[in-house]
């Protein structure tokens, strides 16, 4: 019975399949869809991807073969390589910009019906001129002050341009705020979890956080009621950075207000903290996104309270044991 059903189930490609978000989404989608995961990194040991897993770069020939083998109904491009010292900016450009362009081209060639691209709120950039609530129409100032973020802006730009040019493919671009959760390993999560959070002396900007489960839910909403468009996705509400640190049981490490990027890199090198210099601007000026449009059109409502989500981050040891036990909680 399962086998006969399996052939009629729609097929979905998920990129970045090794990431926590992809696995949360895949876990929730697997009963209804046939999933194929692709990631340049090997499959994580801690969790089984519910479907076929392909190790491939997004701009490689390997991806052509995958598209030919399966007729994908939908593609979820969740595999943006985040900004960190681990990857060079050339590598990120190659993967995020060239890779995305290739993926979009393949979607077009293979008549994919529905495309979801996970961008980031970082594209707006932290700037003193930002309105307190940034809508989807707000200017993308990120690459103005930090060329490191150019690949994120380009990815977003490639996806939105694709959306306008190819109206037959319903493209939804989501720009989530800081994603946090016990499975997430991004910069802000690692900092909050590490117990030591750099904060610029005299500045305490407002921030937003979205729980991993809420983001997974948002992605599934975007898949199941497809509407073309660019949408901000935020969590419950705003919180001052110092309060977020307190709720995550971390300690503030004050940094001088006029710290150069070189010095930030040095501090990061010595302390072994993942501390990209562009983040300093986000610790200075608020970058608050307005997700009213997404809530209205998709009926999205975040379920996890920000404070709860910060409290549940756990410690680095908790995360390690999480990996050891291979108990990714998949109930979204």
């Amino acid at each position: 019975m399962i086998d006969s059903k399996k052939t009629t189930k729609p097929k979905i490609l998920i990129t970045g399949a090794s990431s926590a978000i992809s696995r949360l989404v895949a876990g929730a989608l697997s009963p209804k869809y046939d999933l194929v995961g692709v990631d340049p990194r090997p499959a994580p040991r801690d969790s089984h991807f519910p479907g076929e897993f392909v190790v491939a770069d997004y701009h490689s020939r390997r991806l052509d073969e995958v598209f030919q083998k399966y007729q994908f109904e939908a593609v979820m491009h969740l595999g943006r390589i985040r900004e960190s010292q681990k990857y060079s900016s050339q590598y990120r450009f190659q993967m995020n910009v060239i890779g995305t362009q290739k993926l979009l081209e393949l979607c077009k060639q293979n008549q994919v019906k529905n495309l979801i691209v996970l961008s980031t709120y970082h594209v707006y950039g932290a700037n003193r001129l930002n309105a307190l609530q940034l809508t989807e129409e707000s200017p993308l100032r990120a690459s103005q002050s930090f060329p490191e973020l150019v690949d994120a802006v380009e990815l977003d730009h490639a996806a939105t341009t694709f959306m306008w040019k190819n109206r037959e493919i319903r493209t939804t671009v989501l720009r989530p705020t800081n994603v946090i959760g016990k499975h997430i390993r991004n910069t802000i999560c690692s900092l909050l979890r590490s117990g030591l959070c750099p904060k610029i002396f005299g500045f305490d900007p407002l921030m937003q956080f979205i729980d991993e489960k809420d983001l997974a839910r948002a992605l599934i909403l975007a898949l199941e009621q497809p509407q073309a468009g660019v949408f901000n996705v935020a969590g419950e509400g705003v919180i001052a950075y110092s309060h977020a640190i307190r709720h995550a049981n971390a300690v503030i490490v004050p940094l001088p207000p006029f710290i150069s990027s070189g010095l930030v890199r040095l501090v990061a090198e010595i302390s072994k903290m993942n501390l990209p210099p562009y983040l300093m601007e986000f610790f200075k000026y608020p970058t608050i996104i307005n997700d009213d449009a997404f809530r209205l059109k998709f009926g999205y409502q975040p379920k996890v309270k920000t404070v709860q989500s910060l409290k549940n981050l756990g410690t680095p040891a908790d995360r390690r044991s999480l990996i050891a036990q291979a108990n990714l909680d998949e109930s979204v």
Partner: protein, 302 residues
């Protein structure tokens, strides 16, 4: 002016004031918690509202603000009955170098109006770059004067406090006090767009707190600030010169003005409407000045 200050100062009262400041820690403002809880704000699990207002911070700063409001500037506010319910755009006269006027208008609404209200002040675009001030302002409901911010607030039935003169008003010299400078017109388009009534609010007394005799433009430019005032006490007496003179402040809320029209009207029509607001505000100021007479530090408000 200095002579007047000495003449009108009641030294017994001043001694009392000092002892009261010492009791700051244990001071409780009658009914303040109740007023805070009755504010029309929607808080999230972290205690912040949508725009970063944090009532818990308000509570923490309350004793300090209360002393400043009640004891130091002895603020008297009138005309609360003129304020309509729902969204309101307060248009005030700006003066006195630092936004004491915004603070006093905000405090009068928080401490004295019935029901208690919160006015979101639109501040200069360079404020986010000032350490401590930037986060403090956000916690108490202020934000940069971006049209998008103002529009968002009005559409959510919040009330917004705008000083259309901007830095032209606050940075002006003592000799130009209580003369309205050129008004920006953006607020009128926003009021028309969101159908918000305009309440002129005149603040009397802030112009005397820092009597600026010269604007050191070159230094201001160097600091990235809109102006740099030289007063008889600052920078001559160093940090001591930063203490505002204790003039008596009165806040007068005028009758609401309702406008009809479209936000994309040609600039001439908008300017005519702005002129009406300006005239209403100037007459409110003049009325206040007349009542105060020349008793800058002890004058009456009613």
């Amino acid at each position: 002016m200095l002579k007047r200050l000495l003449m009108e100062t009641d030294f017994e009262k001043l001694k009392n004031l000092v002892s009261k400041v010492e009791d700051l820690e244990i001071m409780e403002i009658p009914g303040f918690d109740d007023r805070l809880s009755r504010l029309p704000v929607d808080l999230n699990s972290a205690g912040f509202d949508r725009w970063g207002l944090h009532p818990e911070s308000l509570r923490r700063f309350a004793p300090f603000m209360y002393i400043l409001y009640k004891k130091y500037f002895r603020v008297e506010a009138t005309g609360f009955e003129n304020i309509p319910d729902g969204r309101v755009l307060y248009i005030g006269n700006h003066g006195g170098q630092i936004p004491l006027d915004a603070m006093m208008v905000g405090l009068s609404l928080l401490l004295e109006s019935e029901p208690p209200r919160i006015a979101r002040a639109m501040v200069e675009r360079w404020v986010p770059t000032v350490p401590f001030v930037s986060s403090l302002f956000t916690r108490i409901g202020a934000m940069i004067g971006d049209p998008n911010n103002c529009r968002e607030l009005l559409q959510h039935d919040q009330s917004v406090l705008v000083f259309p003169e901007g830095a032209r008003g606050s940075g002006k010299l003592y000799k130009d006090r209580y003369q309205l400078q050129r008004f920006g017109t953006g607020f009128m388009r926003l009021a028309l767009e969101s159908n918000a009534p305009i309440v002129p609010v005149a603040v009397i007394g802030t112009e005397e707190t820092y009597p600026s005799i010269h604007n050191f433009k070159q230094l201001a430019k160097l600091l990235g600030a809109p102006y740099f005032p030289i007063t008889p006490f600052f920078p001559l007496f160093g940090p001591l010169g930063l203490v505002p003179l204790p003039s008596k402040i009165t806040v007068r809320f005028g009758k609401p003005i309702y406008f009809e029209g479209k936000e994309n009207e040609p600039e001439e029509l908008i300017r005519e409407k702005v002129q009406k607001v300006k005239e209403a505000l100037q007459s409110e100021i003049n009325a206040g000045l007349e009542i105060r007479g020349d008793k800058i530090f002890s004058g009456a408000a009613k």
